[in-house]
């Protein structure tokens, strides 16, 4: 479900998500993410272009991923977001998970 393209000299590490991220997937997704977490602080990109269905459980997992990356000093940026997922994140007023021009600064 997640695929990670390692960072190169000029491109950040890119994590691509394909498929749904709902209550049915989050448990497996979390396992996979834990295995993929980088040891060294590198800039990250989260490509949600292939995201199918997203629900609150999925949003929570993304929030947790974002928090984890921030806590470890990674920069995290979301690139590409399908419309339905964007609608949900806007409804919940969660800009941190929406694609922006610049990497979203870590809060807290």
């Amino acid at each position: 479900m997640f695929t990670l393209a390692a960072a190169t000299a000029d491109t950040p590490a890119r994590l691509r998500l394909d498929g749904d991220l709902t209550i049915y997937e989050v448990r497996a997704a979390r396992e996979q993410l834990l295995a993929l977490l980088p040891a060294q602080p590198v800039p990250w990109q989260l490509d949600l272009g292939g995201l199918g269905e997203l629900d609150s459980a999925g949003v929570q997992l993304l929030l947790s991923l974002h928090k984890t990356l921030c806590a470890n000093g990674h920069e995290a940026e979301v690139i590409a977001l399908p419309g339905n997922a964007r609608a949900l994140l806007e409804l919940l007023r969660l800009p941190a998970l929406c694609p922006a021009g610049t990497p979203v600064p870590c809060e807290e």
Partner: protein, 672 residues
């Protein structure tokens, strides 16, 4: 969706829940009567009725829903401060709750149906509607506005979800979407601080919360209904901002950022600070299953005693050691098993609020009920069996004990009478006290009446306490006017026999003009006791260990006289050998076991002391019920039967025997 059997099971569950809810509602209502400002009580009351209505709706129990709905409407007014919960309204609500109880009882779980409206329900509904109509339509109070006129307001919602929300198939976002359909979301903040990092994340637990400002014409009820489905998994606080002028909808006021908890209204389904998780950590078990377990533990105790005896006989050191280890565990299991049956007495006490209210209203007396020691634990069987005698004593105290207001005023007492229920543990027994500040027992009148009824010789010397105890004799009533509440000449003797059956005793402490205290002492449990094994000749007896205060060698001649000098105090003695008509043994050195109960002490003269023993009480069969002095039997490890001594009845017998003899032969009150 469900077959008939599943429906019937669901309905059973609903009936159980509904009875609990009704009880909760009634308790809260009575609590409100004494403390009208108790927000927790009004919320609990509202929640109970609301949940009852909702659950009844699932089963299409329409008459029940209709009544609960009207009740809820009235309560809503009370909760929002638009209506005062006065005595007539409380009475009406109590009647409605009684009726709801009757309706629940009338439901046939097999048919999933209930009889239609009865005239009684119709009358209650009409009365409720009449009250509803009285609602003052005050302009100042926005909540008192008629329901038909929706008004635009800005609501501030604080929503916190329980972690089980997601795993129960709910999506928090769905509720936000639904809110968006009810009005304009002016601001929304998703609270994400609780979301942990990946390594400690439980992906199926919900960590989210929301602060929402909603501009809407929805009523409080409508908003609460959005979350009704998840009331077990969410805490909702709702606050209305000043209503916006409908002429200027373009300029909504700034929403409040934070909420003062004091003004927040929790969702009726769950007040803040009452963690729902507490209920999920409890398991309901049928009382009968516990009984079976305790019976088995009883057998285990006996079997272990047998094993220990065999081990000792074999003198096999390793064997003895293992048996001892087993015995220790058995003892622990016994203790835990008995604790399972222990319930707090408070629940039983709380029902007296209603009794006191009804009885005092019927008699036109003002009475305040104070309850203490509600957390004292007692065996469930005991509680069930003591509840009715307690009701009788409470009614009696209100009817006969506490005077009418005028009489109290004349006696220089406050018009409001005080009634106290108290429970506490005392030397292995539980003590229940019913205390009033009324006129106290009329010793002279009781004595007069007892003589008139031939219960007492006119010249027999009797202490005041003994005279008081005469009120427990069959067919005794001193009330000048027989009321329909108590004083029908039945009851007090029933109280006494119920307490006797529970191996308990009742004491009366009465001071003329100052009040009266009934003190009931009960054993903590009926099933197993720690006993002290003694023998007279070949016969073994068990004395409840809690009652044993000391043991000593019997002096050769003193005890023969029926009493003994114990450190300067006379101690009445009962020699069990002649008492039970046993053959005289050859035992030269005899012993005295000093037993006490409350303030009474006595010495039991026996042959040999064998020490402590866990005893499973086997009740005496029908044939032996009349035997006094014996409360049950047990089987020793050797297979021998030992009789369990009934100390209270031995005390009574020794008292009766001592009558007419010198007064100091009565079991002596201990030196205070």
């Amino acid at each position: 969706m469900f077959d008939a059997e599943q429906w019937s099971q669901l309905l059973q569950g609903f009936l159980e829940e509904a009875r609990d809810l009704l009880k909760e509602a009634e308790d809260s209502l009575l609590r409100l009567e004494t403390r009208p400002d108790d927000d927790a009580a009004i919320n609990a009351l509202f929640r109970a009725v609301h949940t009852l209505k909702g659950s009844a709706g699932i089963f299409s129990l329409d008459p029940l829903v209709a009544l609960a709905h009207q009740l809820e409407n009235l309560l809503m007014g009370v909760r929002d401060g638009a209506r005062v919960l006065d005595a007539p309204l409380t009475s009406l609500m109590l009647q409605c709750m009684d009726e709801l109880g009757v309706m629940l009882d009338s439901i046939d779980p097999q048919q999933v149906s209930m009889p239609a409206h009865t005239p009684r329900q119709a009358a209650l509904l009409a009365a409720l509607q009449a009250h509803q109509g009285e609602l003052p339509a005050s302009v100042d109070n926005p909540l008192a506005a008629p329901h038909g006129a929706p008004r635009l307001r800005t609501w501030h919602l604080s929503i916190r979800f329980a972690s089980e929300l997601l795993s129960n198939g709910f999506d928090p976002a769905a509720f936000i979407r639904y809110l968006a359909r009810l009005g304009d979301i002016l601001s929304l903040q998703t609270l994400t601080w609780a979301v942990p990092e990946l390594d400690s994340l439980d992906p199926e637990a919900c960590y989210l919360g929301f602060e929402v400002s909603l501009h809407s014409d929805a009523s409080r009820e409508q908003l609460e209904d959005v979350f009704a489905l998840v009331q077990d998994f969410c805490t909702l606080r709702l606050q209305a901002q000043e209503p916006t002028d409908t002429a200027l909808p373009a300029e909504p006021r700034a929403p409040a950022q934070t909420l003062a908890p004091a003004t927040a209204t929790p969702l009726p389904s769950m007040p803040a600070g009452e963690p729902r998780t507490a209920s999920s950590s409890q398991v309901k078990v049928a009382a009968q299953k516990l009984d079976e377990l305790i019976n088995l533990v009883g057998e285990l105790v006996i079997a272990t005693a047998g094993a220990q005896m065999q081990a000792l006989r074999s003198a096999h050191a390793a064997c003895i050691e293992s048996v001892q280890a087993v015995q220790q565990h058995v003892e622990q299991i016994r203790e835990r098993a008995l604790k399972l049956r222990m319930v707090e007495v408070g629940e039983t006490f709380n029902r007296f609020h209603r009794v006191v209210r009804d009885v005092s209203q019927a008699l036109d007396k003002q009475i305040a009920l104070t309850i203490s020691g509600g957390d004292t634990e007692l065996d469930k069987t005991l509680i069930d069996r003591i509840a009715d005698p307690l009701v009788h004593l409470v009614r009696n105290a209100i009817d006969h004990g506490i005077e009418a207001p005028a009489e109290r005023r004349a006696a220089g007492k406050p018009e409001q009478g005080q009634l106290r229920l108290n429970a506490y543990h005392d030397s292995g027994m539980i003590v229940l006290e019913i205390q009033d500040d009324g006129r106290g027992l009329n010793t002279a009148k009781i004595r007069e009446k007892a003589i008139a009824r031939g219960m007492l010789d006119s010249d027999s010397p009797m202490s005041e306490q003994d005279i008081h105890l005469l009120i427990f004799e069959a067919g005794f009533s001193t009330a000048e006017q027989v009321s329909n509440l108590s004083g029908r000449g039945v009851g007090m003797d029933v109280v006494r026999s119920a307490i006797d059956q529970l191996r308990g005793v009742i004491e009366i402490d009465s001071r003329a003009g100052h009040g009266c205290t009934f003190r009931i002492r009960l054993p903590l449990t009926l099933a197993i006791i720690d006993g002290f094994l003694v023998s007279v000749g070949e016969e073994h007896f068990v004395i409840p260990l809690d009652m044993v205060t000391e043991c000593m060698e019997a002096p050769a001649n003193q005890a023969e006289q029926g009493h003994l000098n114990l450190r300067g105090r006379p101690l009445p003695c009962i020699d069990l050998q002649p008492h039970f008509g046993l053959p005289r043994s050859a035992c030269v050195r005899r012993n005295i076991v000093v037993v006490s109960q409350g303030r009474q002490h006595a010495g039991l003269i026996v042959d040999q002391l064998h020490g402590e023993l866990q005893t499973v009480i086997k009740p005496l069969g029908q044939l032996f019920q009349h035997l006094s002095g014996i409360s049950g039997s047990t089987i020793l490890g050797s297979g021998q039967v030992a009789l369990i001594l009934d100390i209270p009845s031995l005390f009574r017998q020794s008292q009766q025997r001592a009558e007419g003899e010198t007064p100091h032969l009565l079991p002596s009150p201990s030196g205070e």
